[in-house]
Amino acid sequence: MSTTNHIGKPTSRVDGPAKVTGTARYAAEYAVPDLTYGWVISSPIAKGKITKIHADEVLALPGVLQVFSHENVPSLAWFDRSYKDQVAPGGSPFRPLHDNEIKFSQQPVALVVAENFELARYAASLLRIEYEQEKHETSLETKREDGFEPGRGKTGYMPPPPPRGNPDKAWEEAPHRMEAEYVHGAQHHNPMELFATTAEWRGEGKITAYDKTQGVYNVQQYLTKIFGLKKDDCRVVNEYMGGGFGSGLRPQYSVFLAVMAALELKRSVRLTLTRQQMFSFGHRPHTLQYLKLATNADGTLAALQHHALHETSRFEDYTENVVNWSGMLYQCDNVKLGYQLAKLDVYTPLDMRAPGAATGSIGLEIAMDEMAYEAGLDPLEFRLRNYAERDQNQDKPFSSKKLRECYHQGAAKFGWDKRTQAPGSMRDKDGKLIGWGIGGGVWDATQQKSAAKASITADGHLTVSSAAGENGTGTYTIMTQIAAETLGLPIEAVTFKLGDTDLPEAPLQGGSWTAASVGTAVKNTCEALGEKLLKLAQKLDDSPLKGAKLEDVEFVNGQIRLRSDASQAVVLRDVLQASGETKVEADSSAMPNMLKQQQYSLHSHNIVFAEVKVDEELGTVHVTRVVNAVAAGRILNLKTARSQVLGSVVWGISMALMEETVMDHKFGRYMNHNYAEYHVPVNADIHDIDVLFVEEEDDIVNPLGVKGIGEVGMLGVAAAITNAVFHATGKRVRDLPVMIDKLL
């Protein structure tokens, strides 16, 4: 509609100044009057019963207001469905303080509320709780034979497609074959910002919850159903988030406890979890993957089998799509995919950046590397020979797919042609081993229903809002760009608001669908507003736009003008002033065009080239260079998009070399549950990272042509690095992370 060009530009974050000057408010920072403080007590055992809580000893301390536990929790909603949030897996959601049963280590068992933070923490340290311990089972290794196929319970989960061809026979008969198992342990999201809720008591049963969440509507729905609140009496706000990565998709026990306490005490309550407690409400599950690949003499895949087994809790069947991608990333006619869960005495796993695909791409892409070596092929050449032109899982064409261009451009940028195939054949000038490896993946491009509203004031300032989330991804910025471009305004003339249930509903901030979903709603809404503005413009005396339709005009540089003759223009602010209105408003929403979309497979793709240097004597690995080439439709903002992919690469390095939550099965408890021992990369671990976008024109995915880049960038990073380690050392590590001891 317009030529004022903001979309695609590397616009700096519009929320940047608020963040660096400290005016941005996070959940635990809202100043509300008459605040009290909560402190959660976590179970030291993994399974058993609470037999006694010596609350009286603690209540005797002046300033301690209450000790909440299953003994005095108010009567709440009865049915499981009231506790189910929008992304709850199948099963029976965990209910905090529901009864005396312990289902997992670090389960919240009590909440102390006091007049100040220090007192709450001190009182909590004095609270004696007696337990009766029962035998727990937390090791996935012991459950290898007990896997079961889950139902469809969770939104977004797709059971693997049925087998195609004859994968067993094809594998037996092929000239080149491999089979191997790949493992990674549990990982926790560990965003920098701790989970917290400030539950403001507004009197007469009214609550505002400033909560760390990736979905304010999801939390509102959860709270209203459980506590029987009216929507109007339960506002949920999240304007800023210090990282989420999926940890904020489900309402966490922190918001439940803070709101429960506020309603009971009729006081405002603030509750912040500790870093240790950040390991108590969901994780990327410990997963075992088994792959069997076979290749024909001409380098084409003859058979592909991928089976995954991962943990879930006793009470919910957490699912993610681990293996399905393997049926669509490469052309192969004989495919069998399997997916199972095993129940353990742990908390339910939780979506974590690129859930399922980040895991599956480790198995598939290391196996592809092993297969390439078996078949005597360069790993990139091997992928090119097996390029999938169609999505064989669904037997549909891709709406767009420029993965081949990613392969070529990425390889050129990286200098892949200088690679020598034999392990241990490349060294740097100091004699360190060099390894080059690749890995990539595929991710869904989806759009969800979303609404927005817009209002422009007489001074020409546009405010657009939708209850979307911003967890550092750039939502504020790209929505501002879309709105500004649609109505031909400068960035400074637009304010975007999000994260508040007083605003129109948006989907959860996850799945890489925010740009597509909320972006389209913002565009539609601004167009609706544009239509109203055109009508007003036509009312001006001597309006050059009289008789023009919306298609005939464009919004550029604060003007509305004829497309056919740019000199025929009116200034938007003049229109507003002449109209006598103080503001003009519009609202609209956007839905995916199912009819158009369902004929196609909608996906983003990437390929990662990684270089490692290995000190073979000491087993140290450094990732010195990464090129990540991404095809994800249109890029709305090069700066924030690149930033997302950089973050993905850093996280991939983490998955490959460092990250693992280690459980001691004797206690059924994660033992490195702190920032000192749960290792993620530091600056010194990160070297050159190059991000390359191969843009795709795609009007099928959504009107904006965007596919989302929040998750696709993670895919294949860990595999590329692990493959590079093999290329450097000849050691094939199949149990991530690759730490010093595995290379000695």
Binding site: P44, I45, S105, E118, R121, Y122, S125, D430, K432, K613, D615, E617, L618, G619, T620, H622, T624, L657, M658, V662, D664, K666, F667, R669, M671, N672, H673, N674, A676, E677, H679, V680, P681, V682, N683, A684, D685, H687, M739, I740, D741, L744
Partner: protein, 340 residues
């Protein structure tokens, strides 16, 4: 964390007085370890005596040619002090290999010696730990013990002392001057930290109420041929899996004097004088180094998840000695110093 009272001592005698006869009191330096332990309820002092304002932050030359490091000088000020940089570069390197700039700006030399183990179980009240609660058992034995020791361990504890600075100190062999209710005394550095034996709750030989006043380094600093090599799970801001402080005095290719100490392997910074003797008088070759390495690890015992430390330590010793011969100004991270 419990409630506590706080006293900022102004003189050594004042500090010692505040502590004496009060087992519930603790000195506090930078607080970078103690406050963490208090938040986890591992330490529950009810009275804190701050040493921050004591006149013990100087670093000064001693008449015997040595250098005195005040107990309350920060790790950062110590590492970057001109005399330390030029005469004891091994100490400079070791300090800089530890923690982060922010932590080193707060941490004091006394506190560094006194910091407690990073054994996972020690920090988690939900698990038994003899060091935290004598007699409760050792969860690390048979548990997850990647960070635990392989030398000088006991059936009651296999924890390590986590300091980097102290590994260099073990090689440089200063004396620790302390002041207590019964006056002043000096402790040889090697006698300061202890092995766990059947009293793992005791990290060192400091008596109740005693205050560390200074570390007195001898004149010899091995400023020409030294190396501090630290191996860890990421490039910075992680405790050592294994670290090696190596210092040599060379006469051509012959080793005249040698010091060798390891971190991350034992309940104390592990200096091995027998291994040092195997180096002295010998040619500085990989074979010599390997013999010394084998000696250090002769009685090493792995506990499962830390078995790899035995081989890693051997290789690290050889590498560190090689680097010391090369006189390279390395080596908190072999990689970063060799220009990726």
């Amino acid at each position: 964390m419990n409630s506590f009272t706080y006293h900022r001592a102004t003189a050594v005698a004042d500090a010692v007085r505040e502590q004496s006869g009060r087992p519930d009191a603790a000195y506090i330096g930078g607080g970078t370890n103690l406050i963490d332990l208090m938040k986890e309820n591992v330490a529950r002092p009810t009275h804190l005596v701050s040493v921050g304002k004591l006149p013990l932050s100087d670093i000064e030359n001693l008449p015997d040619g040595g250098l005195r490091l005040g107990a309350t000088a920060t790790n950062a000020d110590t590492a970057w002090h001109e005399e330390v940089k030029s005469r004891y570069p091994l100490l400079n390197q070791a300090i800089l290999a530890g923690a982060s700039p922010q932590l080193r700006n707060m941490a004091t030399n006394g506190g560094n010696l006194m910091q407690r183990t990073r054994c996972y179980y020690f920090y988690d009240l939900a698990t038994p730990c003899n060091k935290r609660e004598p007699g409760s058992g050792c969860s690390a034995i048979g548990g997850y013990n990647r960070v635990c020791g392989i030398l000088g361990t006991s059936d009651s504890c296999i924890a390590t002392h986590p300091s980097d600075m102290c590994v260099a100190l073990a090689a440089l062999a200063p004396t620790v001057r302390v002041s207590g209710p019964n006056g002043e005394r000096s402790i040889a550095f090697d006698d300061f930290h202890r092995l766990p034996g059947n009293q793992p709750e005791k990290d060192n030989t400091l008596e109740p109420g005693e205050l560390i006043v200074s570390l007195d380094l001898p004149a010899k600093g091995f400023e020409k041929n030294f190396s501090y090599l630290k191996l860890r799970d990421r490039s910075s801001y992680a405790f050592a899996l294994v670290s090696v402080a190596a210092a040599l005095e060379l006469d051509g290719n012959t080793i005249r004097d040698a010091r060798l100490a390891l971190g991350g392997v034992a309940h104390k910074p592990w200096r091995d004088q027998e291994a040092e003797n195997l180096l002295k008088g010998q040619p500085a070759t990989v074979e010599t180094f390997a013999r010394a390495a084998a000696k250090v690890l002769e009685n090493a015992q792995g506990h499962g998840s830390n078995d790899f430390k035995i081989e890693l330590a051997k290789r690290a010793i050889v590498r560190a000695l090689k680097q010391a011969v090369e006189g390279s100004q390395t080596a908190s991270d072999v990689f970063l110093n060799s220009n990726p």
